[in-house]
Symmetry: none
Subunit: 226 residues, 2 copies
């Protein structure tokens, strides 16, 4: 995932800490939102749906632990990366932190280099985690681990190429993939296959998943849409 698409929600009651983190993350191209306490954080998180949430432990109204526990009860934040911000010496809190579902903790004082690389590490983890996992689009669930598709509760198993083609198209619903783009991403840059190969696979997919999902853009390529 491109850094420019990654939303980070920073939560701390100290304005200067917030600014410092925000400045450093934005310099790297992250998309940064901030909140001053747990309540505000939850409100904001519901609106913007961040990829990563950094929670200070000590906060008024709702502390980090409680905020995290709260967030984890909500379906939409099951796969969100949550990290705690903690003063070096209060590391007893780690235990409690992981208990409520934190993914990492970061110690204050924050050093820019370390902080950024930590965030990047979290990001990588997120990608390998939910990236491989499942993808839900238009009533269809694509399970990348098990190479199968679930539609109306029915498990549909797909051969490799068909699955990869579906996976590519469904990764950006609505977006048109050019034929040569499809070829290079599914078949590889060097392999040479006939013109009709893509069509045949599209046909198989339409047969198995449904006609309507795959739209042809003549002269350009195909798109997946609900």
């Amino acid at each position: 995932m491109d850094v420019n698409d990654v939303k980070v929600l920073l939560v701390d009651d100290e304005a200067d800490v917030l600014d410092f983190m925000k400045y450093n993350l934005e310099k790297e191209g992250f998309w940064v939102y901030t909140a001053r306490d747990g309540m505000e954080a939850i409100q904001l998180a519901k609106k913007i749906n961040p990829h990563i949430i950094i929670l200070d432990l000590m906060m008024p109204k709702l502390d980090g632990i409680e905020t995290c526990r709260e967030l984890r009860t909500m379906q939409e934040f099951k796969n969100t990366i949550i990290a705690f911000l903690t003063a070096r010496d209060e590391d007893y809190s780690q235990v409690a932190g992981f208990e409520v579902g934190a993914d990492d903790y970061i110690t204050k004082p924050i050093k820019p280099r370390v902080f950024i690389s930590r965030i990047r590490a979290l990001l990588r983890r997120m990608e390998s985690h939910s990236g491989v996992a499942k993808l839900n689009v238009g009533g269809i669930e694509i399970d990348r681990e098990r190479y199968l598709v679930i539609k109306d509760g029915q498990e549909i198993t797909l051969p490799r190429k068909e699955f990869e083609l579906l996976n590519l198209l469904a990764s950006k619903p609505g977006r048109v993939f050019k034929r040569d783009e499809i070829l290079s991403k599914v078949w590889g840059n060097d392999t040479i296959v006939g013109d009709r190969t893509i069509d045949v696979h599209i046909r198989k997919l339409r047969e198995k998943i449904g006609e309507d999902f795959f739209k042809t853009i003549k002269g350009i390529g195909y798109k997946f849409d609900a």
Copy 2:
């Protein structure tokens, strides 16, 4: 996108804040417009079609939140970056701000360095997100990624050549494209087609998008205009 092509609309009722921001942005090469209240901002925005709008929260006539809500209802500002300007302690407004479709908020007092980098971050996001993909002109949205045109909320799909022609003309609204320029850009430098080919495609576009958008300049070519 080059900074010199980026139009920023600043909206604040305090003249000195306005000047300060304007000075700093212009020094960086941005193209800056200003308005003193929400009404004026909307009027001006419709004329200049800015890429980024910075709205102060507290304004006479129409406050930032309302202005933003208003702007977001208009098709042409669906993809415009809108950020709020807010005093540090009134940041509860974030929640309301994001609710009406804001992309970011910037806290006063403004520090030039931070301000500029924030604007650049907004710009990066705009580009990586929808910058190249979508194009909004005169109430019409051209989505290059999905290969479709949206007018009055209606999705219109166009055949390849028609889409490319529209795309060319709409890329610089108001500017006249000579017939041979159109030929070389849409049909390619070498292909030779008859005189009436362009006209027919223009006709199709007028049929589907609307008569008024395509103006004929006799003896020269065509232009797209709202």
